[in-house]
Every structure is written in C-alpha cells, then in structure tokens.
Assembly symmetry: C2
Homo-oligomer: 424 residues x 2
Amino acid sequence: MNIPETGKKRVVIIGGGFAGLHLARNLNDRYFQIVMIDKNNYHTFQPLLYQVATAGLEPDSIAYPLRKLFKGSKDFYFRMAEVDRVDTEQKRLHTNIGEVTFDYLIIATGTTTNFFGNRELEQNAMTMKSVSEALDLRSLILQNFEKALLKSAVSEQDALMSIAIVGAGPTGVELAGALAELKKHVLPHDYPDLNINRMQVYLIEMADRVLPPMSSVASSKALDYLKKLGVNVILNEAVESYRDHRVMLKSGKELNAAMMIWAAGVKGNLLPGMNEEAVKYNRYEVNRYHLVKGEESVYAIGDVAYMETEEFPHGLPMLAPVANQSGGNLAKHLNYLQQARSQTVKEFEYFDKGVMATVGRNKAVADLKKLKFGGLFAWLIWMFVHLLSLVGFRNRLITFFNWTYNYFNFDRGIRLIIRKFERN
Amino acid sequence: MNIPETGKKRVVIIGGGFAGLHLARNLNDRYFQIVMIDKNNYHTFQPLLYQVATAGLEPDSIAYPLRKLFKGSKDFYFRMAEVDRVDTEQKRLHTNIGEVTFDYLIIATGTTTNFFGNRELEQNAMTMKSVSEALDLRSLILQNFEKALLKSAVSEQDALMSIAIVGAGPTGVELAGALAELKKHVLPHDYPDLNINRMQVYLIEMADRVLPPMSSVASSKALDYLKKLGVNVILNEAVESYRDHRVMLKSGKELNAAMMIWAAGVKGNLLPGMNEEAVKYNRYEVNRYHLVKGEESVYAIGDVAYMETEEFPHGLPMLAPVANQSGGNLAKHLNYLQQARSQTVKEFEYFDKGVMATVGRNKAVADLKKLKFGGLFAWLIWMFVHLLSLVGFRNRLITFFNWTYNYFNFDRGIRLIIRKFERN
C-alpha cells in the first residue's frame, strides 16, 4: 500500500463513517500514524440518503470527500480499498490493493442490508444503504413513471406507480413521507396524463406500530402524520415473497407495486478472517473499551459493534450519536494508552440526547429524555440538528439552500435519470 | 406511445437540447400538439459539462428536468425514448417504446463525438458529450490518482496523474484550464504523498493555434493564459494512436498519460431511415427555413443541421446561440404556416452576438462583433452570460453558489467517486 514506516504506532481504521471519522479526528498524531480505509473516497451522511432517493438533494449535499476532511493532517493516509481478510495473529490486513500491518485495528464498517436469508427478496427488492443505491432508487422511481405512461391497462399503470416500503423504522417512515410529498406536490405536474391518485405508497411493518424503537407517543403521532399524507400503513404484517410486481404478505393479502424498498433489517459488515466467537447478533461483541471479544488490538465502534451497558442491557442502539461518541471515546482511550500515564478512560457510557424522525413537510416526532413531542417544532429541531450534523460548511449551506428552495416551491428539483437503473 | 389524437397537427421533436427547447416553447399550442422525445428526461447545458467533469458542479446545476420545464403546457407530451428509424413516407417514427405518427418532424438531435473512423481511439479515449460521460471523467481522474499512490515506479505515477486532451476548441481549452486549476489548488492538498508537480496536462491541436474558430487575438491570449497555468500546449500535431497509457503523435513523439480526452471532433446524430442525400458533412442539409433537403415535412435545427447563408457560406457554426435562434425561428415559421395567413418568416439569419471561452480563474477571451478582448472583464462577462443562459432559476442559483464558494475557497468540493468508471 506504499505507506511509510514512521516509527509511530499505526492505527488502521476500516470505514470513514461517523465512528471512524470521530476516531480519526481525535487521535493524537504525535503518537499515531493513521491509515483510513474505505471503499468510497467520501463520507456518507446516511440519515439523509432518503432525500437523495426522492430527488430532494444531490450526492454533494450528503457526501464529503474524506481526503478533504483530513487535509493538512500529519501522518494520515487514506486508501480507497476493500478488505479481503484480517489476519489478527500477524496483525496484517489484506485488501484488494495490497497489505498493511497494524498495531491497532479499528473496525468501523457499519452495516449492510439484512434479508434474513431470503434470496428472492434480495434479488427483487431495492435497498438504500449507499449513495449509489439511493441514486438507483431515484432513477427507478422515475423510470417506472415513464413506463406507466406507455401502458393502457390500468392495473399495470397502478403497479408501476406504486411503491411498497418494508420496515417502518426511521428510514422507512422518512422515505414514505418523502414519497407521499412527491405524490402530492410534484408528480401530478410532471405526469398530467397519469392519474396520480392511483399511486400507492405502502408501508409494511411487522410490529404493531410504526417507529417501534421510539416511544408510543412518537409512534401514534407518526402514524397520524403518515395517514394524513395518504400513506397506506400496514401493521402486524410481514412480506412472504416478491416477484412480478406483486408483494405477497404473510396474511395472504397481495399488493401491486413495481418497486419494493427493503428497510426492514441490517446486519454488521463482518470481515473474513475475524474470530467467529466475537460475533453476537451479526455484530462484533465489544467490551466497555470497544475491544472486540477475544482480541488484544482489534476494536470495533459504531453500528458494527455490539456493546451491552447497564442502561442498555440488549446492546446500544445503532444510531449516529452512538457511533460519534464511541469513536471519540476510543480515541481518548488509545491516546491515554500511548501516553503511558496513569490516566485512563472510564467505561464507555452512551449519553442519549434523544431520537427523532421526520414525516414529510412540517412534521416530525422527537423523543427526548423527558419530553416526547411532535409537529412543526419537532420538525424545525430535526432540520436544525441534521444541518449542523452534516460534515463541512459547504454541505450545510448547499443542503440548506435546497431545503429552502424545495420548501417554498413545493418542489424536488433533481428529477434526473442520470444513469438508468437496470437489474442485473 | 399512448398519445391521444386531439385533431391538431402533431409536431414531433427529437431532442431536448437548446434547439428543441426553443422550438417547443415557441410553438403555439392552439395549432399544434407537441411530442418531445429525448433519451434523457432532462435538458443538458453542455457548455458547462467540463465543470461537472472537474468536480466543480453536480449534475443538478446543468441538467434540468424536461417535464418540469413544460409543466402546465397544454397538449404537450414528453417521452423518454431512443429513435430506431424514421419513416418519412408514412410520416411515422419508430422508437424503442413504440411508434408515433407526425405531421411535422423536427430533428434536433445534436452531435456525437467523431473519431473519424479510428476504432482504437474510440475504445481507449474518454469523451465528454453527456452528463454521465462527464461523471465518468470525474471518477476516472480521481481513480487514477488513487492508483498512482500505490505505484513505486515514478514513470507509472506520472502517467496516472497525467491527462492528454485532444482538440483545442472551446471544450478542450476550458477543460485544460479547469484541470490546471485542480492541479494548482486542490490536488496537492488531497494527495500530499504525491509530487503533483509531475502531473502534466497536455493540450494537443492540429491547427497552428488554440481556439481555431476564434480570432487570432483570442487564440494568442488563450495560449498565453494556458501556458501561465502550466498547460503543455502542443500545436500543429495530431494523435496517431493511444494505448497502454501512451499517446503516440503523428510526429513520432510520445506522451505518457493514463487518460486521453477526445475533444477533436463531432458529427451529427443522424437517424436511420433518413434520406442519405440530405447528409452533408455528417449533418442534415437544410434550406433557410430549416427544411431538410428533399423532404416536405422534416426539419432539422441546431448542431445537426447544416445551413449555408451569405454570411456563413461554409455553414453556420455549431453553437448554442445558433440552436436557440433557429429553434425560435422555426417555431415562428410553423405558427405562421398554420395560421394560414399571408404573413411568413424571412429566410433565417443568424445574429452573431460573439463567442467566448474561459481559461481558468479570472481569465477568458471574447470575440464580439467589433471588439476582441480578454482577461478579468471577459471572465466576468463569461460567467454572467453562462449563468443567465442556464435554464431555470434553481440551476442559476445553485451554480452561482458553487462558483462563489469555489472561487473564494480555491476549491472544487465534489471530488466524489460515486460510481467507479470501468472500461467495458
């Protein structure tokens, strides 16, 4: 990989997401040489992927070049690569662009979509875990509308216009809200020769409420907002199979939809060569110092890590703030270790500032520590928090511009099919 | 194609570029049903494609959804399709999504890259005629830099960093300037472990000056700006072959460059089924009323049309203003024909407002009717003219924002490899 030996301890970080980023920014470069590996040359702000998918934002609003982020950092090396295998004995990482040895390895690889072994769903459903997947979604939505125009049979038109979303977690709910806004404000102008009223947005959830990880107040408010937007919320229901534009539900019901988006589960991006015993619930089990079970110099942070605490006996939630805080905490821990001072970090505790989800224009729900509320105020806070969380001044400004423009014009300006989506 | 018969004359326009757009917007919908066909669902502002390629702008700045443009138009139908064949006898157009009959057919298909029959160049060179090609260029530039990091041999590194542009027309010159700016202000920060001074930007031109269609004042000023930016301008020279990162020139000289961009020629996008005798210099020969030679109801406008006038005995230049004016003029002509009034349009005359090209930061050259000048003032005019020519308020605003940001930060914020470029 052409990385010089500088005598410092080498920390290899796999993944430039929230966790990896916070770690890298807080490691002391007097003690460490940092090598960051990611399959993309940019950081992705995942919470807003659904806006790329629904033509509200371009990738440059939510993606940030990793090299730019570390401009001027000393002894920092970024490599765009995919990991082939970890060799923890030899402390060596094998990638598609060569090998690199490490003193500390940090796994911050996040998650990938989990189809729970259903190959048919995996082949026929769309996912939204990366910028390119979000762009594929955007293209296919528009392609299906273009196709619908050419059909004479109403049932075919209906299927091509309709979208089923599986999983009513924050991703599913936010996506459903954004699609309902498209249906209301944008598509009728674009396709005057189609009867957009016949377009259906289905949101299918196994649990008995939307946003199951949130409070029941949030769930019922969100359900209310979704219904007002015209989303077909289907609770206590699961998908059995999906083919030929037909969603077969476990109950025997069928839905007509040319697109199904799977947002019903994720699993950790595990690495070949890693100790199988460290895996718990598809993630790496770590102790309160982020050390992977059974390992001495391999750590895991962010969504790929599974950590139990007193407050969260079933594991910390997979959320951006957990990733940020654990990245910062691990940096501190490693810095202290290297300083060889008596100072040590305390066991990691997640400081829970609350959870939010937005449901279309002017509406959001928020669960803060002591306060559960929804509506316009929650929506304003949601926007403010997300704007500030974006990496880089440029991204904040350009997102703010797009939001303002879209808000006042009831528009999503980026209805472009730049690369047609074609199923392999 | 599912287009209803409304009793009005049907005008089918192939192509949503400058010419097609101006025509469609000016046709009177009391007389005509308009069907616009384009392979993309957006209009492309081609003069700024090079900024998408060099990470200065995202597609949403220069692409505009065609459906949005015609929102509210009566009896207007857009179809995303590719033309298979024209049947002028039956007045019928065959496409990949079905057939459509026409009363008037307007060919506004623009041009495609011309490799003059050299298959090797066609296979190994990059082109920049569409948004997706511009995105490919952007990705490959960045991918090559990522690769260069992994090479130990300096000659390999040099090749991977270097870029040869063939053709010093406005496209080649503007691209060379933008790449030189990247070299100067952006890449050294992104790749501190590479010696960016070794990066070469070559600009190869057959003629004895850059910008051959412009005045000699413009040519010499542009040459001066390019040299100051560090571009290697090679005049009176042509490319013989290109493979394995080596550009072989006709003179026997060789250049090392992992990327060659071909901007040395275009040819009209001709359509199967059209009368061969109408083709002149790879374009459709038209009379002063845009009627294709030998046809009665097939017109051609924009770059695909070849029209001789007294002032331009060798054909009108292939420029956006010509396309705009001829689209407007043809609309007037057809409107008059349909009104069945005695009023008719005059023979088309191109009103030449001048030509401009920009060469990096603060520099441009302009040939106006009576005034040839360059420098900062020309650059400001260039920016102003291009901003105003962009379609839609949103695109203008977002381009303006990006330019301002990039100017003051010496930055190109969008250094993202969203989809890796891989040669088939």
